[in-house]
């Protein structure tokens, strides 16, 4: 097993201890419709200084596909990563994914951001397709590069 995958698996266990002051946030995202192999998607939080804070959802364990998630991968290389959730397989074209995570109150409305990278074979790379502030207001948006066709965040 390679180094990064080890880091990913270990960090799954230590991320986000059961702190009282956390809010359950539900995300719902849909990737664009196209014909071809499925998409890889990563959802992550960045700090006010634009550094990676944490990785909350990643749908590939296969190390060789991670560099395609270009924005996140650059952060991950520089800082190491912590991943909270894996979904086993790539997301088929046009499909949706829904998941919930506990996010500490201290990150909400304090300049942190939610970002999403997506990529698929022959469909290009969409780094930071979603790039929105992590605020207590529910969000409903679409990707600037058109890869994520629907994205919502509810607290």
């Amino acid at each position: 097993m390679n180094k990064l995958a080890k880091i990913l698996l270990i960090s799954t266990a230590i991320w986000l201890p059961q702190i009282a002051e956390a809010r359950n946030v539900t995300f719902d995202l849909t990737v664009k419709s196209y014909t071809g192999p499925g998409a890889y998607v990563v959802v992550y939080i960045t700090r006010p200084d634009n550094q990676l804070h944490s990785t909350i959802w990643l749908n590939s364990k296969e190390e060789k596909y991670l560099p395609a998630l270009m924005g996140w991968h650059r952060h991950a290389l520089r800082q190491g990563v912590r991943v909270d959730g894996f979904s086993g397989a790539s997301l088929g074209a046009g499909k949706s994914a829904k998941f919930s995570v506990n996010i500490p109150e201290s990150l909400i409305d304090t300049g942190y951001k939610i970002q999403v990278d997506a990529a698929a074979e022959d469909q290009g790379i969409a780094a930071k397709d979603i790039n929105i502030p992590l605020t207590s207001a529910n969000a409903n948006t679409t990707g600037k590069r058109g890869f994520i066709t629907a994205f919502s965040m509810k607290m």
Partner: protein
Amino acid sequence: MLRQLHSLPGLFAAVFVIILALSGAIMSIEPALDKLNAKSPTQMNVAQMAALAVKNHQGVELITQSANGTLVVQYFNDDGAGNDIFDPQTGQSLKPQQPSAIFGFFKLLHRTFYVGTTGRVVAGIAVAIMFLACFSGLFMLAKRLGGWRHLFASSKGKKIPRLHVDVSRLIIIGLFITSLTGTYMSLAKFEFIDDGKGGFLPFPEATLGTDPAPIDQLTALQNTPLTNLRELRFPFPDDPFDVFTIITADGQGYIDQASGEMLVYQANSLNRNIFEFFYMLHTGQGLWWLGILLGLSALGIPIMAVTGTIIWWRRQKSSTKITANTAADKAEIIILVGSETNVTWGFAQHLQQKLTAQKTKTHIAAMNSFKPKTYKTAQKIIFITSTYGDGTAPESASQFLQKLEKYTDIPKYKYAVLGFGDKQFNQYSKFANDIDAALHAKGWQSFLPLESINQQSSHAFEAWGHKLAEKLNLQLELNHIVSQPKIYELTLKTSQDYNHNNEFFTRILQFSMPENMPKFAAGDLVAIIPPNSHIARYYSLATSSTDGLLGICVSKKQGGLCSPYLHDLSVGDQLQAYIQPNENFKPNKPNKANTPIIMIGAGTGIAPFIGFIADNQTKRDMHLYWGGRHPQSDALYQKPLTEYLTSKHLSSFNIAHSRVENSQYVQQKLTQDVEKIRQLMAQNAQIIVCGGRAMADNVKQTLSEMGIDIEALKRNKRYIEDVY
């Protein structure tokens, strides 16, 4: 064993392999189309190209180059995002890159059959089976064609197996490449093999962090030729500590955006290079012409799968269960069977059933289960065997000769050998001959001379049964028919009779036939079923179905069943018949050179030649050598032959008469014409022989004495015969 290894996995995977092949064939066009987008390679370096791309596009994030040389720039700015194919010489966009829905659809079908990981596993197994089938098939091919030296000899046998062999030879190299690389890629996907893609290059510890230099000043980019580039990732804007990531054909590295130095570089591992090479061979990405060739090869796979399944099915259908088999140590007669396709088993079991019905205790087994010491009460042992390909043992007799070698006693029981073969093969019924010779050499006593049956002839089997019955003092009527085709009613239209001094009756008959009768050509056989018999007799056809009449030529055999019946028919009488195609007895198609044909025959053997001559549309050089009895008694087809000479359908007609003064046989005519025949052979003439066995043997000997290598000609279908 080899056959099972070939056919069973092949059957299992057939449907999947067909899908893989067709989708693969479609995708094989993609690299060639992609190549059309590529600008011709230049002497530029990456820095020059990147500077032009940046000059023409705001917010460049990524530049990629496909293995076929197409460059794509990805950018993101206030106007939105874009992915454009661009010209490296100018840096200007040519057109947006549109991912192809068609190729995308087939790519996913090819990899997963649209059922995710399960599909990937199935595809992996299917491609591995394909590799095994190529491998085992190659060995079977060599065996069938009589050794590796003859791998490109012309193939023989029935239509479907021949198609299987012919297509396989066309595509096997392509299939080897495709299936080997496909298996490798599947193993790499499931991480049984390291493709060298894992392990990220660690991010450089220290970057300058000062103002970025202009892109065309970056030395590491200047030092990379454009042709070597795969991917160039730009640093995030407004992050001075970020770097350029470059991936080349040889490795990958990080480049400082201020100093232009390569901060970290890692060359590709051996595993990575192997993967890339196999990927290129499999997909044609970077080698578009190979992709097209492999795609064309893949188109042959459905034919292989379908013909292979038919061959397997026929084999299954021919296999029958053994009933009422007496134990080896209690039987009076032992039947041992050498069979490859189960057809021979069918004949042998028919014999066993008939013997058992006569209250003769009979034991039947494969020749491989030969156990001479257990045959305690045996009086006779009968070996019934086919020959595989060009003279080797069929599957169920593959170990027989070794087993016989170890047995040194001479048994009390006597033996007989019956061979099944096909005269189209050079080594007609060779394995039966080998067995007979081996038994004889061991000192075993024979009770019936060796005989061989051509092309599963029920008639010959019946005749052999009579001889066997005589030796066993039994009544045996063997009437085993391999398969019963659809029967048609023919009506006699015309007949012409010939005789020599009121003996040697010969008759030319022409029948009209029903409209739904299958097509036939001269040289095919018509099987005529005489009344009171269910076994057909075969006659060579003198006409083609396009002539509208079915013509044959029959000599009357004393004591025969079918020929006297045909000689007694009156115009308007009807009979039952079917067509038996005889693909291997046809003149070679006229090619550019319109190569000549030499036809040699005697007696009624002239019949197919009349049809061949009538079909000679291209007026190729056709020479007929024919032996008859007397010009007054058997001037068969004299009128049409005279007309064909005038119309140049026929170049020469050389007759030898045996019942005249200065009697002559056809082979003597050949000897007289030796110079002419040598000349024709030098023009790649084909020799076609039709008639009795004795005549054919004499002709063969005469031609051999002229220095003609008949075995070599046979391999190239330049010597064909229909002998009875």
